[in-house]
Structure formats: structure tokens, C-alpha cells
């Protein structure tokens, strides 16, 4: 069936069963492949996108739950989010596969808490696994982006 989704400011019609997870609609139907498939059960965070500004796991969110919800993906940050500049400055990515999800989780954090503490970062970012172990650079880049935003 046809469902309307609002993704990155555009309303898009997609043909998919209502119980299809958003991730597979984004990736296979809309060809927006920045959001990654890592676990399929909301355990790793590689598929993180925003739903009305809140970070959600798109692998476990059926599209039928998203009517009228504003979805933002990594593509929607347009490459000019201060976090993305900080990620490059710190050479955060190694394999890079988790980083879209990490950045989306961090972007939601900064939107709510412009100057996060270490405890805030732990609380917001511990749902996102990085097997390459870029955690300390992720933390440094979030702090750097927070500082640059206020400057």
C-alpha cells in the first residue's frame, strides 16, 4: 500500500506494507543509504534517525507509526552540521559504519543539551555501538561541536 512519509522536509509516497521497518523503506525504496543496518533489534544504533527531533531506531519502527511525523536522517543534516565538522577534525571514523547513527544520536543530544556533561554523553550515546572503538574521539568531537556552536 502507499504511505506518505515526511523525510528531511519532503513528503514522499512509498509503496510498502505498513509493518515494514522505516530503515528498509529508507534504504531500499528511497535509496537513502546513510542510515545503516547493524542488528535489526534496536541494540546497536547504526540505524538512528530523528522522529520529530527524538532519536529512534529505524530498524524497529514500522512506517505505520510515523504518519505525520517529521523524520530526519543523516542525509538531512546536509553535511554542514557542526558535529560533522568536528567528526572530520578529530578523524573520528574508522570503518565508519556506525557513524551516521552516532552523529544522529549526538545531534539529538546537542539539540536538547547544548553543553552536555560526560554523564549526558554516556546517557545519550551508550545505545550506539562502535566496534572500532572510536568512543573517546566521539566524546571529544561532541564536546568540540558543543563549544563551536556556542562560539
Amino acid at each position: 500500500m502507499s504511505i506518505a512519509l515526511e523525510v528531511n522536509g519532503k513528503t514522499l509516497q512509498v509503496e510498502a506494507a505498513p509493518d515494514t521497518p522505516l530503515l528498509w523503506v529508507l534504504r531500499d525504496e528511497l535509496k537513502m543509504t546513510g542510515s545503516k543496518f547493524g542488528c535489526g533489534i534496536a541494540q546497536c544504533g547504526a540505524c538512528t534517525v530523528h522522529a520529530d527531533g527524538q532519536p529512534i531506531r529505524s530498524c524497529s519502527t514500522p512506517i505505520e507509526a510515523l504518519a505525520g511525523v517529521k523524520i530526519t536522517t543523516i542525509e538531512g543534516l546536509n553535511g554542514d552540521h557542526p558535529l560533522q565538522a568536528a567528526w572530520v577534525k578529530h578523524d573520528v571514523p574508522q570503518c565508519g559504519y556506525c557513524q551516521s547513527g552516532q552523529i544522529m544520536a549526538a545531534a539529538a543530544l546537542l539539540a536538547e543539551k547544548p553543553h552536555p556533561t560526560d554523564a549526558d554523553i554516556n546517557a545519550a550515546m551508550s545505545g550506539n555501538i562502535c566496534r572500532c572503538g572510536a568512543y573517546q574521539r566521539i566524546r571529544a568531537a561532541i564536546k568540540d561541536a558543543a563549544a563551536s556552536k556556542s562560539a
Binding site: Y97, N122, R131, Q136
Partner: protein, 721 residues
């Protein structure tokens, strides 16, 4: 299965040629090099004037061709820097491109086959790429010399600009056409490493950070091609089981499912998209023939290993020195260690895109071992190995998982694509569960030690027995007299060198559970065994663990071990007071040509070891990309710590108990240590960096826990589920 290669007398190949995996390291046909055979069917690569590793565009931008895959380890930055240094290229305008698969042109000089692993990418490319860069530089210098009629010796190159004291200057772009006509020198002059301006500096940064921070880097999972189908496979729940029969009535009803058929590894469901493939696959009802399947549970396997080690009846010596018959009398320090199966659990589960149309085959994926995969796919679907075109993409980690000796998921994908035919792109997608249940684990390992301590408190005689499954069996790698991968780190240890009697044996056990190298291979267990034993011996001798090691390293003339230990302990403040409930532990381990020392600060919170700060000192020869060396230390510590704390794949009646990250716990942001990296200056050729940071962390933590609690560690993980 492994029919030998047959060649007709004029050297042309039979169409039905099958390459045996043994050919990589073993017997060969007269007049035919192993490379020639592995490369059979390969298209000639038409590279430009600057050879197979360098392309220079009309705008003067330099592209370095990497024969090695980039999957996080930063090798593309390091390889490009080697070329840029000798070429004196403008680093900001250097790009990196992935080479095609070609065993002849792009082989790993340490493997004799194309592939990335064993932390060899930089080490094997070092002279090759320096020469390539220097050769291209000489061509520009010669072109300018002819054009300006000045001696070549008076010409300098900096940041892709060629200059002469007379004031004449030209960019690579200006000189490109003339330089391309110059014959490459056979023995170009290389720089004195003391004059390097790029290598070893913080200027050497990753080239892929922006793409990987914007979701635009393309992984296998992201591939979409016109007409592409997506496949998933129902695999056997027990290792060694085969399909007996299947019922696809319900699976066929799933919208988007195109085809369902049996393959060697299970039942494949081919669909229009990923979600349909998954729903179809999950709706299959498969009956398995489990007559040859592994049905044991982990405790049973562990007990059998311990028994084999105690009996010691079937061992192969890996080191035998001195008179072992009399050396082990009287009281001994004895210990056993048990290690579980480990999944690599890279972020991107295994996947591959294959297109097959008769003899025409193309694979598009994160390919770690092009030659091995070509050989395995060639055998499976009956084509020439070199004719298999491979487009290698970056991949969401590997840690060894994507280089398999049996072709595994790549062969599975090729078989499905052959059945579909018509060069239709077929993307094989493994879910996390497929990946975690898919074997190729770091094998279970048991160590049994008996050490006679001399009157001086140091080991005089060392008896060591290792029981594990073979990683190398069935692999195209040289097998050797014993399973070296199981004992590396014991073999060659300075502690063994310092002992006068050594009696080391390795015994191989069998199981249908597939096993594989896992970041740092033998070091994943041998480092804990050696380093934790040394701390226990030091405690028995009433000596500080660092002083105790220093005496042994001095006796064994292990200068690099001494240097990294001194640097790490100095930076960590070894011996200085810590808050109550926190202790330091040290470990030093050599692997892949590099030596790493780590000092970990550990406390115990709610019964779980908490690692706060880790200080690393590393000697990896000439440091090319210091920031990426630090990144690899950070990553290796996290990866090794994750496994040491939580990592374990267990079997119950042959069934894997961990299916996803909910039960296979890995380290997360709130548990991550802060890692500091210090590099020992060196003039030696570069050695490995992707793996050597992994082995020391588990023993560093175990040694800190020993200091905190007095209790030795006898098995991993520290935190049992």
C-alpha cells in the same frame, strides 16, 4: 573436490580448470608460477605512465592506488603518505583509490597473494610504494631538467611543484605530459628517512572522514543496481548439519519473493528487496540432517580440551630446548587457562553482491582476500580465478572476518547468483543473527603450564601445552610443522628465551564449528597466559612486576620490550599512588613485528572490572601516521577489552546461545576507557599496527585485578553471562 590444475602443453587453460587451494603455497606445475596460476583468466591492467600505484590527473591531483582494503584501520592514509612523501606531492590534493583484484600486480608481497591481514599492509608496501613515489618524482625532475636545460640535481620538488634556483617553476599539471614520456628509472633514489616532511607528522590524516560522517561512503549493504535482487539464506542451526528437506509454502506467499532454492549452505530466498527476503526466509520450514553436526555444549568441549592437555599424548612440539626429563622435579608453578569462542561482530554483517553469466563473474563487496575469494569462487562455480572481477568496497569492519579460507559468504553469494544467472546483480544479506551464528569464530583455547622456578625467583624450566582447533587447516596458507597461529606469543617470548629448559606442545582438536583468525590471532590468548603468569611469578618472588620483567628482558636482550615498558610505565606514573580501590596492571606483547606495552588503571564497580585509563607505548618501526597509530591503539584496546570483559560464544547441545548484541555484550560508550598512545622513535622499517594493540589489554586488566584482589584469572571473559 580439489582437482589439480591442468594446463594443456601450450600453456593455455582448460575451460573446466579447477584451482586447488593448495596451490597458493604448495606444489605447482612446471614452468608456471603460483601467481600465474592464481591469476589465470585475468584481464591485463592498463595502468598509466606512473605504474600500477599512481595516477596523476590533468589537474595535477595525485591518486594513489591501494591494493589493500580500507576497513577502518587507516591503511589508505598510510599508504598514500608513503607515495606522497617520496613524490613530494601536495598532501591536500592526494586521493586514494581501491585497486582491482589482480594477484600478479597487486599481491601482498608477504603473502604471494592479494590480501589484507596480519597487519602487513604498510609493512609489505613500504619499499614498493616508496619506489613508486620516487620513480614518479624522478620523471617530473627529468622532464623539467630537459625542458629548462638545467641539471636534474639542481631541481627541487615541494607540494607538487617542481622548481629550480633560477626561478623556474612548474606544477605537476604543467609538466604532466612531458613527465609521462620519461622512462621510469629502474632504481630511483629514495629519501633518507631523516629528511621526511610528511611521514611521521600529524599532517597524515584520513581521507575518508567526511564521506563517513555524512552517510555518503558506500558499503556493500548500500549497493543498489538496476534489476538487483536481494537474497537471504536459511542456515543450519547446528554446525555440520545439512538440508534434509524444506517446505516453502508460506515463504512463497510473501510479497516480493522471487525464487527459493537449495544451495550447499542452506536454502536461499531471493526477493525484490531486503525486507521481503527476510520475511520469506523466516517463513521457510527446513528439516536438517544433523547426523554429522556438533551437538556438544561448551563445558563438555572445555573439559575435553583440559583432558587432552593433561594427557599430552598427541602433541606436536613447537619448542623443545634443554633436558625436559629432569627439569620439572619438585614444586612447580602450575596454571590452566580457558578461552571461549569469539565472534568478530563487525558493525556491517557479512554481505556481498555477485553477478554471474557463464564465465563472466563480477563481485562487489568489502573484499579482504581477493585471491583467496577468487580461488574459492572459481572452485565453487567453475570459472577461472583471475577472470573473477572484484570491485572492493570499504566495509563496516572485519577484524579478520572477511578473509575466510573457505570463501564462506562470498561463495554462497556466487552460487546464488549463478543459479539466477544472466549477470543479474544479487545482493546476499546476512542479518546480525546470521553473522553471529555463522561460525568462523576465534577458536576455544586451553593452556596448561608447569613452570619450575629457579632459586633466583625466575623461570628455569617452562612446560606449556596448548589445545585448540586449527585455523590454518584447509587454508591456502603454508601449514608448517605445527599450528603456529595457536602459539605465536608463547613461541618467541623473551620469558622463554630466559629459561634454560622449554617443553612446548600444541595439540589440535576437531569440531564442525568453523574457526578463523580474529584481530591479533594467537595474541588474543597467548598474551594473557604469558603476561598474567609473569605477574604471578613476580608476586611469588616478591618483586614488582615491572622490575621482574626488566630482569627477564635484560637477560633475553629484548631491547624493544624494555623501551616500550619504560615509556608506558613512565607516562602512566607506575608506582605512584592511586585512589583506594584502583590498581594498575601492566602487559607487554610483541606481535606482527611490533611491540606494545599497556598500563591499565582498573577498579571494580558492582562486581564488574572498570577500566579508566590505559597508557600504551608502541614500537612499530618508523611511524607513518601517528594519529592513526593512536586511533588503532584506541580501537584495539576497546576491541580487546570488550572481548576480555564480556565476549563469549557458547554452545548448548550444539546451538549457539548468543544471537545478537542483546546477548553478545560489547563495550559501549559509558564503559570505554581513555587511551593514551606514545610512540617509541625508531628508524626501522614499519611493522604492524592494526592488531598489536589488542593482545596486551586483557592481561593488563588481569594483572590489575590480581593486584586488587589477589585472585588470578584462569579464564575469559571476566564477566560471565
Amino acid at each position: 573436490m580439489n582437482k589439480p590444475v591442468t594446463l594443456s602443453q601450450n600453456g593455455t587453460t582448460r575451460r573446466d580448470l579447477v584451482v586447488g587451494a593448495s596451490l597458493v603455497g604448495g606444489a605447482l606445475l612446471v614452468g608456471c608460477s603460483p601467481t600465474d596460476i592464481l591469476n589465470l583468466g585475468a584481464k591485463k591492467i592498463d595502468f598509466g605512465a606512473f605504474g600500477p600505484f599512481i595516477k596523476i590527473g590533468a589537474d595535477g591531483a595525485v591518486t594513489v592506488i591501494s591494493k589493500h582494503i580500507e576497513f577502518g584501520q587507516g591503511t589508505h592514509a598510510g599508504l598514500a603518505a608513503i607515495v606522497a612523501e617520496e613524490l613530494d606531492a601536495d598532501w591536500s590534493r592526494v586521493l586514494v583509490e581501491q585497486s582491482p583484484a589482480n594477484t600478479k600486480v597487486y599481491q601482498n608481497l608477504l603473502f604471494g597473494a592479494q590480501g589484507t591481514g596480519g597487519s602487513t599492509a604498510i609493512a609489505n608496501s613500504w619499499m614498493q610504494l616508496r619506489q613508486a613515489g620516487a620513480s614518479a618524482r624522478a620523471m617530473f625532475v627529468q622532464a623539467a631538467s630537459s625542458k629548462w636545460r638545467v641539471p636534474a640535481a639542481e631541481i627541487t620538488v615541494k607540494d607538487s611543484v617542481v622548481s629550480h634556483a633560477s626561478g623556474k617553476s612548474a606544477s605537476f599539471a604543467d609538466l604532466l605530459k612531458d613527465a609521462a614520456k620519461v622512462a621510469p628509472p629502474t632504481a630511483p633514489t629514495l629519501k633518507d628517512p631523516k629528511t621526511f616532511t610528511l611521514i611521521g607528522t600529524q599532517k597524515v590524516r584520513r581521507k575518508d572522514s567526511l564521506a563517513k560522517s555524512t552517510g555518503t561512503a558506500i558499503y556493500t549493504q548500500d549497493i543498489h543496481m538496476p534489476g538487483m535482487l536481494t537474497a537471504m539464506v536459511a542456515h543450519a542451526p547446528r554446525f555440520g548439519a545439512k538440508v534434509a528437506s524444506y517446505d516453502d509454502t508460506e515463504a512463497k506467499k510473501v510479497k516480493g519473493v522471487v525464487k527459493i532454492f537449495k544451495i550447499a549452505t542452506g536454502v536461499a530466498v531471493v526477493a525484490e528487496n531486503t525486507w521481503a527476503a527476510k520475511q520469506g526466509r523466516d517463513a521457510l520450514k527446513v528439516t536438517w540432517d544433523e547426523s554429522k553436526a556438533e551437538k556438544r555444549s561448551t563445558p563438555e568441549i572445555a573439559q575435553s580440551y583440559a583432558k587432552i592437555a593433561s594427557a599430552r599424548s598427541d602433541g606436536t612440539p613447537f619448542e623443545a630446548r634443554g633436558d625436559a626429563t629432569t627439569a620439572f622435579g619438585g614444586p612447580l608453578h602450575t596454571a590452566t587457562f580457558d578461552f571461549p569462542y569469539l565472534a568478530h561482530a563487525s558493525m556491517e554483517p557479512m554481505n556481498c553482491v555477485a553477478q554471474v553469466d557463464g564465465q563472466k563473474v563480477k563481485l562487489t563487496y568489502g573484499c579482504q582476500g581477493p585471491t583467496m575469494d577468487q580461488v574459492n569462487v572459481a572452485k565453487a562455480i567453475g570459472v577461472l580465478p583471475g577472470a573473477i572481477e572484484i570491485e572492493t568496497l570499504t566495509t563496516g569492519g572485519s577484524f579478520g572476518r572477511r578473509a575466510t579460507v573457505d570463501g564462506d559468504y562470498v561463495v554462497e553469494c556466487a552460487r546464488i547468483a549463478k543459479k539466477i544467472g544472466g549477470f543479474t546483480p544479487v545482493k546476499l544479506v546476512w542479518t546480525r543473527e546470521d553473522d553471529m551464528l555463522g561460525g568462523h569464530y576465534r577458536p576455544m583455547v586451553h593452556h596448561n603450564l608447569a613452570i619450575k622456578v629457579g632459586v633466583d625467583g625466575y623461570p628455569a624450566a617452562w612446560r606449556h601445552t596448548v589445545v585448540t582447533q586449527s585455523i590454518m587447516k584447509g587454508s591456502p596458507m603454508p601449514q608448517g610443522k605445527f599450528e603456529a597461529a595457536a602459539v605465536e606469543g608463547v613461541l618467541g617470548s623473551p620469558y622463554l628465551k630466559a629459561a634454560s629448559v622449554v617443553d612446548g606442545q600444541v595439540i589440535l582438536a576437531e569440531s564442525p564449528v568453523s574457526v578463523l583468525w580474529w584481530r591479533s590471532v594467537g595474541g588474543t590468548h597467548t598474551a594473557l597466559v604469558m603476561e598474567h603468569t609473569i605477574d604471578q611469578l613476580a608476586a611469588k618472588a616478591g618483586k614488582d612486576p615491572v622490575d621482574y620483567r626488566r630482569a627477564l628482558y635484560t637477560k633475553a636482550d629484548a631491547k624493544r620490550h624494555l623501551a616500550v615498558m619504560d615509556l608506558a610505565t613512565q607516562k602512566a606514573g607506575w608506582g605512584k599512588p592511586l585512589p583506594a580501590g584502583t590498581a594498575r596492571g601492566i602487559a607487554v606483547h610483541e606481535s606482527f613485528g611490533s611491540v606494545v606495552a599497556q598500563v591499565a588503571e582498573v577498579s571494580i564497580i558492582d562486581g564488574v572490572p572498570r577500566v579508566g585509563r590505559v597508557v600504551c607505548a608502541v614500537d612499530c618501526g618508523i611511524a607513518i601516521a601517528p594519529d592513526q597509530i593512536a586511533a588503532q591503539m584506541e580501537g584495539a584496546v576497546t576491541y580487546g577489552l570488550s572481548a576480555a570483559l564480556f565476549g563469549e560464544i557458547t554452545l548448548k547441545d550444539g546451538l549457539v546461545q548468543q544471537h545478537n548484541f542483546d546477548t553478545y555484550r560489547v563495550l559501549r560508550q559509558n564503559e570505554a576507557p581513555t587511551v593514551e598512545t606514545y610512540i617509541v622513535p625508531s628508524g626501522a622499517n614499519p611493522s604492524g599496527i592494526g592488531e598489536p594493540g589488542t593482545p596486551p589489554i586483557a592481561p593488563a586488566v588481569a594483572n590489575a585485578l590480581l593486584a586488587l584482589t589477589g585472585k588470578p584469572t584462569t579464564s575469559l571473559p571476566f564477566v560471565k553471562a
